[in-house]
């Protein structure tokens, strides 16, 4: 007789209905920093969604003579850039770019990486070998470097342009992350008896993989997504710094830091404000990811 007795506290049995959501909320909001992160993200989403209403100026409108590189304060709360464009407005529009780059890239790479991981983990053998070694190969390239190369290649072909180059390049670079996590999760879920139960009752492989394994892989994936979103925004900034970022006049934080960086001493707000925005949002995504991890599945601590 095997008695489940893994922790010090053996009490179990008969949990109360509807406590799950409460528990989730309690754990999630237990840490103030997570709450702070969530607030930052909510504000950012609001800023992105209502950018035209929130911005005092057109972010692309050139300033008049003498409006170049204004210091913060006065009419332009955060000053202006070289072309006299309002920094605050560009910062708000930058939230759009950041979210777009982040979410679309995550979606695309998840859409490719997750099924690859499930298939590799579920079938094992040669399929697993081929998929996972290919993922290993991609992972051998530093993400920034791979994105840089891909962006350079993608720009050469006139198929996609502008922000999509960045999005696609980053998407490809992070596919292995999804495949790996899903692969690992699939391997462990596969061990569960309910998967054998499905097979015992005659479910098809597709049904088992996408109706039973996939939903169970969501918690670690959600955590991965939040972490990746932060990494993607940093990578976009890095690409902009190297000159393969968002095309002008698009307002992207990375590009703004890079633009403002040339006026390091003269106009602090120009680079510091997008810099803080990046750091803050990446931080927020990480915090929310941490919070989700703790709330969704404490066992994930240490895995990601």
């Amino acid at each position: 007789m095997v008695e489940k007795h893994t922790s010090d506290i053996g009490f179990s049995e008969a949990p109360v209905r509807a406590s799950e959501w409460r528990r989730f909320r309690r754990v999630f909001f237990e840490r103030k920093l997570v709450t702070f992160g969530l607030v930052v993200l909510v504000l950012m989403v609001i800023a992105a969604a209502f950018a035209p209403l929130l911005t005092p100026y057109d972010p692309y409108e050139l300033g008049d003579a003498g409006e170049s590189l204004l210091q913060p304060g006065g009419e332009h709360l955060l000053g202006t850039d070289l072309l006299g464009r309002d920094t605050l407005s560009r910062l708000i529009y930058g939230a759009r770019t950041a979210l777009m780059v982040g979410f679309i890239s995550v979606f695309i790479s998840g859409f490719i990486g997750v099924p690859l991981g499930i298939i590799a983990g579920y079938f094992g053998g040669v399929i697993n070998m081929v998929i996972m070694r290919a993922m290993d190969a991609i992972m051998c390239f530093p993400m920034l470097l791979l994105a840089l190369l891909l962006a350079a290649v993608l720009r050469e072909y006139d198929v996609i342009s502008g922000i999509w180059v960045v999005i696609i390049a980053l998407s490809i670079a992070i596919i292995p992350g999804y495949a790996r996590v899903t692969h690992g999760v699939t391997l462990s879920i596969k061990e569960n008896e309910y998967i054998m139960a499905q097979r015992a009752m005659g479910s098809s492989n597709m049904r088992v993989m996408f109706r039973h394994i996939l939903p169970n892989a969501f918690p670690p994936l959600i955590v991965l997504v939040t972490m990746q979103l932060g990494a993607l925004i940093l990578a976009e900034a890095g690409l902009s710094f190297l000159g393969i970022g968002i095309d002008p006049p698009g307002a992207a934080w990375g590009a703004m830091v890079w633009d403002g960086y040339r006026y390091l001493a003269n106009n602090t707000a120009l680079w510091l404000s997008p810099g803080i925005a990046i750091a803050l949002v990446v931080f927020a995504f990480n915090m929310v990811g941490d919070g989700l991890r703790d709330a969704l599945d404490p066992r994930l601590r240490g895995l990601l």
Partner: protein
């Protein structure tokens, strides 16, 4: 609990299930784990056959072979007269409707992201067992009531149930397509003592209520197996060493392994315990990778003679359906 008819619903003949062991770079097969090594038994319709043995003896493997979750290495399994090991996957799918499996762990055997109702209804969907949504709902509710759960709990998730309740959900799922054979793989060993009896009674009541429901009851707990089964098969290292009516098992065990197994199980009664003979086996169960020659029990056996290591003793009838595989009996 007499068998309804003397018809064998399941007839397993010389079943062998070897798992290859690979070594080295090329994963060359170097040996086999002989999890099940030539097992023959029958279960009559409506009967409960207990399969008992220590971990690694192959009892779970037999259960999984019967459902063809493993493809047996050799031997044949007749289920309701049909030979399973040669069936196509689609035919097997149809057959699986008539068999079900109840698992040991009530935690990992239920998909945590599926509601209880949908877990129980899953076989119905997989086998298109019901016509309409309302028929489906009715059937699920019916199953819930059948296993003693409140049918209002269908939309709850597994973690909202206690271990015993979860095992009831497992039982309901197994019953969904009205199978004639349920393989119960250690269905109660993960439960608390006070809950085990509830599930044992449930299984017994179901068998009494559903005509022809047959159990292959796999467990390591001899007292439980003896309690629920009509007949008990004792396994050691991939072989059945003794099959007999459960009554005879305690009163007249023949195989030395059965004897020592019985002796190892303490009885919750100091007055009885005072008088019991205690056989403490030496050493550990050998690995099925490299089982001893002849009777695989002989190195630990207190009755062993040199001949025991010569040949594998066949399972032979010693009267009244009592079969034993030992040359010293």
């Amino acid at each position: 609990m007499n068998p309804l008819k003397d018809e064998a619903i399941l007839d397993v003949r010389d079943l062998k299930m070897y798992f290859p062991v690979t070594r080295g770079l090329l994963r060359r097969k170097v040996a086999d784990v002989k999890a099940v090594d030539g097992v023959t038994f029958k279960i009559r319709r409506g009967e409960t056959l207990g399969l008992v043995g220590e971990s690694g003896c192959g009892k779970t493997t037999i259960g999984r072979c019967v459902l063809r979750l493993y493809q047996p290495t050799s031997g044949s399994i007749f289920f309701e007269g049909e030979e399973l090991s040669s069936l196509s996957e689609s035919k097997m799918r149809r057959i699986r409707c008539n068999m079900a499996l109840i698992f040991q762990d009530p935690y990992s055997s239920l998909d945590p992201r599926q509601s209880a109702g949908s877990i129980v209804g899953e076989p119905l969907k997989v086998h298109n067992w019901v016509g309409s949504q309302s028929e489906y709902n009715d059937r699920v509710e019916q199953l819930f009531r059948l296993v003693g759960l409140d049918s209002s709990m269908t939309d709850r998730f597994p973690h909202e149930f206690s271990g015993g309740q979860r095992q009831r959900i497992g039982v309901a799922r197994a019953l969904a397509c009205e199978p004639s054979l349920i393989v119960c793989d250690e269905p109660i060993s993960a439960l608390d003592v006070s809950i085990q009896a509830q599930i044992i009674n449930l299984l017994e009541e179901l068998q009494a209520g559903i005509k022809g429901l047959t159990y292959l009851f796999i467990a390591h707990d001899l007292s439980v197996v003896k309690h629920i089964s009509d007949r008990v098969a004792v396994m050691y290292l991939g072989h059945i060493v003794e099959i007999t009516k459960s009554r005879t098992l305690y009163e007249n065990p023949l195989h030395p392994y059965t004897k020592s197994l019985l002796s190892a199980v303490p009885i919750a009664d100091p007055f009885v315990e005072e008088k019991r003979e205690r056989i403490i086996l030496k050493g550990e169960v050998p690995t099925p990778l490299n089982p001893p020659s002849g009777c695989s029990f002989h190195p630990r056996c207190f009755m062993a003679t040199p001949e025991c290591s010569q040949a594998v003793p066949p399972l032979r009838d010693v009267g009244a359906g009592h079969q034993v595989a030992c040359i010293r009996v």
